[in-house]
Subunit: 263 residues, 2 copies
């Protein structure tokens, strides 16, 4: 079992209750990464579903949980032949931290009827840039769990050269050997530095709402993440992330609405 | 009070219960339009919130309700200084039809820090095409409530000339005199014919999940709807709709995941 599989484990207590343990290896500063927390919730929801895959997940980030034991509570809303819908809530001591609505279904392995093109050209992997190692006191423990290689201009903000628009593009894999699956995708869609950093913004950018759709099961190998945004203003921004797999297939779509940092 | 305001009214029974009456004037064939139903739910959620606007709404479409009396049940999840989060469910006789997670906040009237361009060029209004009047027996009552003027190629499928890719673009206003507001936007983001019709698909295309974000309060006048998709396959498709107002401002973003029709 990989570290990621272990850190996202959900142990069935009864039909609607799962025990989980939030791992401090997925921290971004103080808080735990929202994609990691969503992956934990999805483990429980899929385990309890008659279907195999988390096809659509909407998450409201209510509060930021500290690492340690917690529970996922499930409320089945619909169980159909094609899809099931569940509300799943991450709770500790009767306080809700994340609230989600999840559609599960079973995806096949079929070629698309129609697909768009990747949203941007990516340079070869060898021409891409890693993030510098974070200072230990920054608590960016997540960085050591992922291997991210950025399209250089989209990480220019690190050296005071933002591109002037919200964007972030990178190749992604887990640092440990693990093929991507829907739970890795749940992490991948929320693991880029906020796209607004490329537009000159700074500081902690808390996600308010994040919805992502699993469009196909990813092939082994690197994933490519294409992050962009459409509007920054009034303290809010959107971040859209498409994930393509190593065979050139769109496997996940994500949009989050977040608050601009004050930093 | 306009017909739309009346049809979306939510009458407070107590802190967490609202009476509504689902209006048969917003039908698309048998079912009622999902954007209309979402607008009804939002009336209740915003009325009960300390904030003024429905900034983010995720809806799971569980079942299709018939017209008539129903209830919106609210479950407050968080009430913060900047945002409040509510779960709101449309129910009748203890059966849930739509389940939603809603963030409310109060938007200001400020210029964006950064904005993208409209996703496509639109021809002038006078060069656009209306839908033909539906046959009375089709129960497309919604069509009479809206004035939609399509970018002609994106409605070519009506005459057996689909463009070959998922797209739909149109100017929009209510048929009755009413300035757009967040509730009109809730309808607008889900009122286009499915974008897959332009890619050659046909038939009833039920929405599974729809998330939309209110990005700014719309100015009076026509709205412009830009619909597109990224992937069609395995029985699923996505539909992305951006709504721009008459001053050229992005006011709403929406993505839905839906099932392909079998028709």
């Amino acid at each position: 079992m990989t570290k990621f599989d272990e850190a996202t484990q959900a142990i069935r207590v009864d039909e609607t209750t799962y025990d989980v343990c939030l791992d401090d290896g997925y921290g971004i500063g103080g808080p735990l990464n929202g994609g990691y927390l969503t992956a934990v919730i999805l483990r429980a929801a899929v385990d309890a579903s008659p279907h195999e895959h988390p096809v659509s997940t909407s998450t409201q980030f209510l509060r930021s949980p500290a690492p340690g034991p917690a529970k996922v509570l499930l409320e089945p809303l619909k169980a159909g032949r094609t899809t099931a819908v569940t509300r799943a809530t991450l709770v500790r001591d009767d306080v809700a931290y994340l609230d989600t609505l999840i559609t599960t279904a079973t995806l096949g392995d079929v070629a698309p009827d129609w697909t768009g093109e990747p949203p941007a050209a990516m340079p070869p992997l060898d021409d891409c840039r890693s993030l510098p190692a974070p200072k230990p006191e920054s608590n960016m423990t997540l960085n050591a769990r992922m291997d991210l290689r950025f399209d250089p201009p989209t990480i220019g903000w690190l050296n005071g050269e933002p591109t002037g628009r919200p964007e972030s593009r990178a190749y992604f894999r887990l640092a440990e050997p693990q093929d991507p699956d829907p739970y890795v995708l749940a992490l991948a869609v929320d693991c880029l530095p906020p796209v607004v950093f490329s537009a000159g913004a700074r500081g902690w950018a808390p996600t308010v709402e994040l919805t992502w759709h699993l469009r196909a099961l990813p092939a082994p190998g690197w994933l490519t993440l294409y992050g962009s945004g459409r509007l920054i203003g009034d303290g809010w921004f959107d971040e859209d992330v498409e994930v393509w797999d190593s065979t050139g297939r769109l496997v996940a779509q994500c949009r989050q609405l977040a608050r601009l940092g004050r930093g």
